[in-house]
Amino acid sequence: MMTCKEVATLLSTGELDHASWLRRLAVRLHLAMCDRCAAFKRQLDAMARAAAALGRRLEADAPADLEARVVDRVTRTPGAPDRP
């Protein structure tokens, strides 16, 4: 049985997207039975919807060169290699 902490971590890191079908099923079952984790998921969903709304708004009034500037910034400062 998965703990609430495991479920919340899988949801919040986005790791659930590439978890096995068995793990995804276990999370679904847990969410169906656990109000608290379901509330946590609703927070994440609300945040995702708000981010999408923000994205639409930014797109509507973004300067034309924004994307080029972001790409430039990201490619100019590549991250250091990761630690395990």
Binding site: T3, C4, G14, H18, R36, A46, M47, A51, A80
Partner: protein, 157 residues
Amino acid sequence: MGFGAAEADDLVQDAFVTFLETMDRFEGRARVSTWLHGILHHKAQERRRARTRDELVDPIDDVFEARFAADGRWSQPPVAPDRALASDEIAAALAECLDRLSPLQRDVFALRQIQELPAETVSKIVGRTVTHVGVLFHRARGHLRTCLEEKGWKASR
């Protein structure tokens, strides 16, 4: 010292500025080079701590931990946001909260959640492993949750 060339240049400049600022405290008991190295060492440690704060440890991890009991159950259960709140209202609050994130966490959140890119793609863009992108995304959402809860999921304006 484990810094890139640009960052190392920055550090040395920073150390010289501090050297000039604190010169009047230099009593000639040590050689100038020793004094300078001391400053540089101190600056490097400061910078390393800042980087650690940004990437390796984040106090938000403790906030998340504290919400669970030892058996992994919620001890401080989350409260789902009011369903009546429109996404646009939360979006305004979110825009304010995003400003408080570290640049790297903000980039990861924006790419994952606003651009809706998969973790693999974001990993390539920011030059971090997929696992680390997950950690950064988790931390970003943790900070944003705290900030949004403070605002009652509404913009302060």
